[in-house]
Symmetry: C2
Subunit: 407 residues, 2 copies
Amino acid sequence: MGLLVQKYGGTSVGSPERIAAVAQRVSRAVANGDKIVVVVSAMSGETNRLVDLTNQFGGQPNEMHRDLVLATGEQVTVGLLCIALEKIGITAKGMLGWQVPVLTDNAHSKARIQNISGAHIEAVFEDHQVCVIAGFQGVTGQGDVATLGRGGSDTSAVAIAAAINADECQIYTDVDGVFTTDPRICENARLLNQVSFDEMLELSSSGAKVLQLRAVEYASKHNMPIRVLSSFSDSKGTLVEEREEMERPVVSGISSVDSEAKLTIRGVPDLPGIAAKILGPISDSGIDIDVIVQNISDENTTDFTFTVDKKDTSEAEKILQKTSESLGGGLIEVDDDIAKVSIVGRGMRGQSGIASKMFQSLADHEINILMITTSEIKISVVIKKDLMKKAVNALHDTFELDKNLDN
Amino acid sequence: MGLLVQKYGGTSVGSPERIAAVAQRVSRAVANGDKIVVVVSAMSGETNRLVDLTNQFGGQPNEMHRDLVLATGEQVTVGLLCIALEKIGITAKGMLGWQVPVLTDNAHSKARIQNISGAHIEAVFEDHQVCVIAGFQGVTGQGDVATLGRGGSDTSAVAIAAAINADECQIYTDVDGVFTTDPRICENARLLNQVSFDEMLELSSSGAKVLQLRAVEYASKHNMPIRVLSSFSDSKGTLVEEREEMERPVVSGISSVDSEAKLTIRGVPDLPGIAAKILGPISDSGIDIDVIVQNISDENTTDFTFTVDKKDTSEAEKILQKTSESLGGGLIEVDDDIAKVSIVGRGMRGQSGIASKMFQSLADHEINILMITTSEIKISVVIKKDLMKKAVNALHDTFELDKNLDN
């Protein structure tokens, strides 16, 4: 008998039939003797419909008012799932963000959770079997409805799980869990039984969009185990949690992204503060920068390369052009025919030779490396886009990810 | 400079374009120097869509959960109207039922308003020009979302107007106001400038569905003037309020209904309590009874006739059959080929001769009367359905309703 939080995303509750199926799944957990808190997203397509409505008045809508509209998506799902549960004999109580309450800051449309009181949720179990809570939403200190931004439902679920000290936060999606790499790219991709928070963070930030980054960060901070699993199958999914084993695989997974573009500014003065001068104006305009590489060139100048999302390429180029002029020149090159491939693994910490093994494998397959960056548990290379699939498969073989060693 | 409540129904906010038009209308009132509280319904069609969703799980949905779903309709309109207002430079603040708060009882799906605190609404005007409130919804003492039932938005508007002591509650609809009779039936129908609460109540209950009965009752009890007007024109509309003039027209309006059926049980024992024995079981099953007529027959038996909505006919007949058996017989007759025509007027109080003038007019047009009932300010006759239009026009002429005497 445990206390579980189950979160169902938009696809899992995309129709009345799907909602009825979720009710069945919840009822099986109830039959196990578990207390279940369910956190739901809006039915798939609904949030887009509501966003479109708010955009019908010209210009950018006021975000506080827009939140009032968007929050209805999850509210509808809460009511419908409660109806579906009662229909199969499970007593349920629905709760909106303000009823829990999920207290947030005032940053409408991207609010951050400040505090969740677990008392109201716990009281629900005095006379109900299941508590259904609207994800993605909370209430500000002023009593206004606020949304957490896209994907905020995962964060809601983890934060609620932490607030009530749940045994596990189960995130139901339309995939079976976290794979060693994208199964659409590599047919040998294997479902992982377990992965650590930091590995999950690196995988998420490198293209494996199974979980929202914010949710993983929150779970890691509060040490709340997350299980990623499918609402369309009976797979056990992947458990994301902190663990310290004696032996673990060196590399846990491979992620790949081909949605970025690479910008280079050449021959800028190699002076302290030059990175901030170049990247500051780009960050200030709201563009996310991913990989950054700086290399010493000749005659006291340096070459500076970074990647941004493709949609931001022309904006970033424009800003970079201005910076180049103020710095007294420097050729700008743009390349959006690239892909980033990363190997991620907690086991590579302190292990030497992993990087050279990776580079050798790519060389053996005649894949030229354009950029390299490394973090403590990740090594990323930027290569030509048409080589991405080849690179992922080569590395998957090299690090024997199709074999279940202890995962 | 006044304090006005304006209520816009589903047709008035049926699309983003219509909502933008409402924003323009509100901005004109703001330019007049008035403080404006706007109460909105769900966009037309939206409540039906939501009801359909809640019916997808088989059987009657739990009403508390259904309220959570239905309340989103008005919430969306609140957010969209606030966005539209800000877009034309009007500062607005949206409020949901629980934020006002509109406190209701626990009768989910048909909750009654128990108390409204005006303080939060008044505080909005410290730094906003307009307060937009979701109609049709409130919050129970337990903190659950509750809806007031269909048409509850009119009641919300009147109750909010009373709570903040507004100068007038303006109900915007898709008609120009209250007419002497249905313009589709009588081409001489004339828009009334004024009508009293009790006249409005009798007109509402007799088929003129411009205002919800509950809203008129609430307004009458709290002496809150209502103005019924069109959101599609610039008509001044009709003011519904209490007034005591020296002279007034004898008859203010004529209403007609052809959606009822007449049931008669003949030859039942003429004993005390017989009416309750016959009508009790029918009311208990949730069927609304309209006109009731009892006449003494012969041999200590009586004939008993009443009307119900057509959709309830077969259910009422079934119940009546059982009652007849337990009373020891009594022939049952059903007739749904009927119409009810009523003349309504405060001026007829204490005036003799109005009824005979009505009956004479109908006789002159060869219209046979099947039933008669009277109240203090209304006389209703039941006639054959195909004579309804003829009767309405005849009475409109007879009482000279096309002429503006003092209204």
